[in-house]
């Protein structure tokens, strides 16, 4: 029996690009209306350009009772939008969804936690926000507290909690929900490894009792461990669905093929300015035998080509690599050299066994005379580095941004003589 039927769901946004600040105030609304009366529609479009954006487009699928469905895809692929529609938080632009059974959605750990309230108060607040009745919360209260391991801090405001405690408490509450359908978004991305394992185990137990689970995660290992079916989204569209291993394999190979190259054939359409324009930016992975996706072992070459429109200039390239959260992981600059008009190519090599698994963004800056940035190509390429480990029986998130294999010598100095 299918418990969720999604038919032709689309979600459409109109993004306004206003001149100046994008703040929406009554004054703006009024001036636009008034200007519209006097200037006619043509001027108005000058002032305000609309961009259509489909967060989801014609998505169809159904979920059977007891299925554990993983949802994978890049940032902005529409995964979270889908979960929010299923959770009734946002309304679809068109299409319909039929859901049979009580739904609990977990889009955030500790939804509604108030920093000033104590752990005890927040358990009731969060629990009832997630749809538990007071007597249900009372019933599983001790279990929640024990699962989170916060017995001693029950009457402390959660603002004094460590982030680990906060997350554990939040997850513990949601793990004790008793819905027929559970919708989970990226919750396992937080918390320490041991707790993740415990949570994953708890979710698996839940599904053994016939519960349906929808699970979004960037952690493909977790999706593989938990889900029997997987949906793969790309730019708002459902690209593939089916058995988890199969979908994940094609997701990984697709990622490697499509996203790693951007090219503009003529300077007219290329990003840049009158001095320099970008021709191509490409990430070329050097796959070891029969691998089709980038993982922590893969060396990569980043190639960057641009047109120089200046007669003679001392130029150098500066490459930044950012994490998903926008922190700069490193910056590498090339030697400054004189160039004439024409196409110029730069290449930078990132060795294997350097980046940790995660999503990274590369931006390249063209610099004149080592001090004047001429053009900065932000978010040139975004790519994922998948996890790979050998001889480790631990599946928690490997900490850090880099995962180098520095020489690490450990030896027994002298045996203990009894």
């Amino acid at each position: 029996m299918s418990v969720i039927t999604v038919e032709n769901i689309s979600k459409h946004y109109i993004i306004d690009h206003k001149r100046g600040k994008g703040s929406s105030s009554i004054r703006d609304a009024i001036t636009h209306t008034v200007k519209g009366w006097f200037a006619g529609p043509k001027e108005d479009t000058d002032e305000l350009t609309h961009e259509e954006f489909w967060a989801l487009r014609d998505v169809n699928f159904s979920v059977e009772q007891g299925d554990r469905v993983g949802i994978v895809g890049h940032n902005g692929a529409g995964k979270s939008t889908l979960l929010k529609i299923l959770s009734k938080i946002i309304e679809p632009t068109s299409g319909s969804v039929k859901i049979r059974g009580r739904v609990a959605s977990l889009l955030e750990v500790g939804t509604g936690f108030h920093p000033e309230l104590t752990g005890r108060e927040n358990i009731f607040l969060n629990g009832s926000l997630l749809g538990m009745r007071k007597d249900e919360i009372k019933q599983s209260f001790d279990e929640i507290v024990a699962f989170a391991g916060v017995e001693r801090f029950l009457d402390t405001p959660v603002k004094r909690y460590s982030s680990g405690m906060y997350v554990r408490l939040g997850f513990a509450i949601s793990a004790h929900l008793n819905p027929e359908i559970m919708i989970v978004d990226e919750v396992l991305a937080v918390g320490d490894a041991e707790f993740q394992k415990k949570s994953l185990g708890k979710m698996r137990d839940n599904s053994a009792s016939g519960r349906t689970i929808l699970f979004v995660s960037h952690n493909l290992t977790a999706v593989q461990a938990l889900c029997n079916k997987t949906l793969y989204f790309e730019r708002g569209q459902l690209i593939e669905q089916g058995e988890t291993n199969q979908v994940i394999a094609s997701y990984l190979s697709k990622v490697a093929r499509t996203r790693l190259r951007r090219q503009w054939d003529t300077p007219e359409e290329a990003p840049g300015n009158d001095l320099v324009r970008v021709h191509r930016i490409e990430l070329v992975p050097e796959y070891p035998d029969n691998l089709t996706h980038i993982d922590v072992r893969t060396p990569m070459r980043i190639q960057f080509e641009f047109w120089n429109m200046m007669d003679r200039a001392n130029l150098n390239l500066s490459l930044h690599l950012y994490s998903l959260t926008g922190e700069c992981i490193f910056n590498v600059g090339s030697q400054s050299q004189p160039y004439g008009k024409g196409l110029i190519q730069g290449e930078c090599v990132i060795p294997g066994y350097f980046l940790n698994d995660g999503t990274y963004t590369i931006s390249v800056m063209i610099v004149k005379d080592t001090v004047t940035p001429l053009y900065n190509m932000e978010e040139g390429i975004t790519f994922d580095v998948e996890d790979y480990r050998e001889g480790v029986a631990w599946y928690g998130k490997w900490p850090g941004y880099v995962r180098p294999q520095f020489p690490f010598r450990v030896e027994a100095l002298e045996p203990i003589i009894p």
Binding site: S24, K88, I89, S96, K98, R102, L107, T111, L129
Partner: protein, 276 residues
Amino acid sequence: MKTQEVIIQAGRPERYYWRDLWRSRELLLILSMRDISVRYKQTALGASWSLIRPLATMLVMVFVFSMVAKLRADPGVPYPLMVLSGITIWTFFSNAFTQISSSVTTNANLVSKVYFPRLLMPLSAVAVSLIDFLITMVLFIIVAIWYAYVPDWHLIYMPLFVILAMLTAFAFGLFFSAVNVRFRDVGQLIPFLVQIGFYACPIAYSSREVAGKWFEKYYIMNPLVGIIEGFRWSLLGGKTHLNPQSLVYSVGITFVCLSLSLYFFRKRENSFVDDI
């Protein structure tokens, strides 16, 4: 448990909206408790602020309007008691109105992360002002004892005016809470409206001063005039001025605005997340 089937579709009104709202009454209580217990956290004086503020306002009013401007109270009523009764119900209204107006935006983190009947936010916003109101009533009783003043049977009407004040706050606040999601100008507007309202309503003076003037017929169109007059009338034993016509306006305007606001709120609530 019987499995219920939910259908999600664009523009489809929620079939079980009112039933869901009723089922969420526990959540309403918990959200209200949250607001109340958070209110005076990390203040040294705590809930006594609810006493200090109206008391200080009353003292200032008594000084400015009674001693400097020489305004007269209704005959047989001590001026401070008249002012305090006005301040009590006005503070209740204006606090409730302000909090309801910002209720959706202050709960933005919930709106974008979890579904619940959105009306719970403005509903729970009333709780704090209701508690404050009860505390101010205690102050009123103390001052009344000081003036050896005993209310009479008119007092039984008092709850009706409190409920009416609450409904009026809801009628106006609900509209602004939905507008506030899109236009944060509301946050600038509300304190200004409250400030004007303070002088446009018979708080520091008796509405007897207005009676018979040419602008009286416009003056009483303010729904708060009837509510404040009525509250004062019930508390001070019917000795103060009450124009029954102003009460008709209060009730009429409140119910018309309440229905319009409810309609508007329900129309907008599904797109809160897109704008917030």
